[in-house]
Amino acid sequence: MRTAEPGRINAAFRGRLGNFMLDAELSLPATGVTAIFGPSGCGKTTVARCIAGLQRMADGFCAVDGEIWQNHHSFLPVHRRPIGYVFQEASLFPHLSVRRNLLFGAPKAVGAQIAFDEVVDLLGLAALLDRSPHRLSGGERQRVAIGRALLSQPKLLLMDEPLAALDRATKNEILPFLERLHGRLSLPVLHISHDMAEIERFADHLVLMEQGRVVGSGPLHSLRPIPPAGNRDRYGDCSPRRKSVGNRTRMTSMPIDFHDIDPNRVAAILYRSQDDVDTLLADFAETLTRSGERIGGVVQRNIKDGAGCQVGMQAVDLMTGREISICQPLGSGAMACKLDAAGLAEAAVAVTRAIAADVDLVVINKFSKQEAAGEGLRDELADAIAAGIPVLTAVPEKCLDAWNDFTGGIGTSLLCERSAIEGWWQDLSSRMKRARAARLAADAPAALLTDHHVG
């Protein structure tokens, strides 16, 4: 793959960074939007930085549209590469106004392909031009950063998780701009993300990365993401033995701060191995769906053979009702059964979709071994909680410590009984309805007025 081809981006980087080993080879079309997807720490940002020339791997090759940027004996410095780079944090120059930020990389010569007015219009920046970056919101800053990158007339736009540092409302504010951008420009874009929902909205091509390697590449929808492997032994089997170790191992993933979340909105059903929590949750979710509640997420149903022995399991996306996948039966009577990689990815999408739809309750069937070890649906659980949506999940008793570490001790523990779950939900949903009614009442006079006008 170490050859320069016109119309393609060819790159290969190999080397060690600290104790991280990167060995990535890419060959992508130099058109449309290509998403590089993978869990945090898989090396996707490093690949983008290598392509930009911000990071130099001794053993590297990079050619874009037939032009060699790096090989064994040459390395084009960053400022000679026709790229636009949007960083995770907007990184505007604080000493320059928005207008001068935008024009920083714009060539002096006229007749540029991407015109100033067009970018200002596309990203809705007209009202911000004379402001200082200090006086912009997070979303506005990121829009200016995107505009600034575009105005440098790049031949390749690299976007390194441009939305990851933004909250959900701001993300939703920027996403339409990004979609418009990708629709209007003929510029090839490399979009780095760990958010499948984001990628599904505009990527044409997908590259999957894991632990410094490219594990798949192809048109979107021909690929399924593979969940992260590794650090499988953090909480291991959540065994209580680890509690006796004075200095408990910390999660590798970032500690999440849920302190401003209403603790009543997070509930964990504590169950023991003999409890059939899957069926309990699935039945409860089904009841709610039937009565017209807006809920989303994933539950599991066990598949049993004629003799009542579990032979497999099926996950269901609560919003679409779709059966996600059936995990491979482990043989008659096997109780442990995990979602396979593809199923897990679909479950993740199901939860993300529910969060995006702002449902009234997200059900995630389990926080167990995998989630405790920073895998599985852990990130999606965190997203749902952080979004302030009520979350119901089930936690095996042996994983209670890991759960408390994860949530920072917030949330309600429920007994593994239908009545306990229903009690929690009725209490919470009636309070939510009251709050909503109060909000509506506050808006009511305005609504009445408009009604009169119409009448």
């Binding site: 400022h79 780079y85 960083f87 120059f93």
Partner: protein, 228 residues
């Protein structure tokens, strides 16, 4: 008897001249040095930083002694002076400038280095991805963002040059019109019991120091407002 006697005026002007020239040279030398210290990685950077910081802890007389040897006819100073037919740099205005630069270097390098470090790599990376050469990045991004550091460095460098005494006495002596700066003059007046002149000069120093700091602060505030 006038306050502004020729003798006093001479030492004031000499001091301002010395401090201005030294500060200018300090900024020119300290900027690349601070840049290098802020960006280079390796054990030798800290060794270099320690050498630059030596005047902070060395007694001025010790520093002055070594400088006197170096500037004298048998040291490199004598060799340099021979270019314009001189015999030595000791007890000359040029020698004082060299001494002041060495003495005040840490006070200028440190704030600028800190300001460069505080800026971090990201703005420089951003500039590079926007096609700015390293030279342009330095002047349009790194320097403006490190402005408070430059200001602090310049004020400290200037003030330290104005106020140094031990070092000046060691390498400059007390030659009116050539090396007799304010601080030495005040010492002289006190020695000879001319309290009136001493208090005029001392008062001038206090007012001057206050004015410098106030002006710099106001200039910085205005610049910050203009940028915002």
């Amino acid at each position: 008897m006038e306050i502004w006697s020729p003798e006093i005026r001479q030492s004031v002007l000499l001091t301002v001249e010395l401090a201005t020239i030294s500060t200018a040279i300090l900024l020119v030398l300290a900027t690349p040095l601070a840049w290098w210290l802020a960006h280079a990685k390796g054990w030798w950077t800290e060794i270099a930083a320690s050498i630059i910081a030596l005047p902070l802890v060395l007694p001025p007389t010790v520093l002055g002694f070594y400088l006197l040897v170096m500037l004298g006819p048998d040291g490199p100073g004598g060799w340099i002076a021979s270019f314009w037919g001189g015999r030595t740099l000791a007890f000359t205005f040029e020698g004082l400038v060299i001494g002041s630069v060495v003495y005040s270097m840490p006070f200028v390098v440190q704030p600028i280095r800190n300001a460069f470090s505080a800026t971090g790599e990201r703005p420089l990376e951003v500039a590079a991805t926007l096609r700015a050469s390293p030279w342009r990045t330095f002047w349009t991004v790194a320097v403006p963002l490190a402005r408070p550091g430059f200001l602090t460095g310049a004020v400290l460098g200037f003030a330290h040059t104005v106020g140094e005494f031990g070092l000046v006495l060691m390498i400059g002596g007390n030659i009116p019109g050539r090396t007799k700066v304010l601080s030495v003059a005040i010492f002289d007046y006190v020695e000879t019991s001319r309290w009136r002149e001493a208090s005029i000069l001392a008062g001038f120093m206090v007012i001057f120091a206050f004015a410098v700091i106030l002006t710099m602060t106001l200039v910085d505030k205005r610049a910050a407002r203009a940028a915002a």
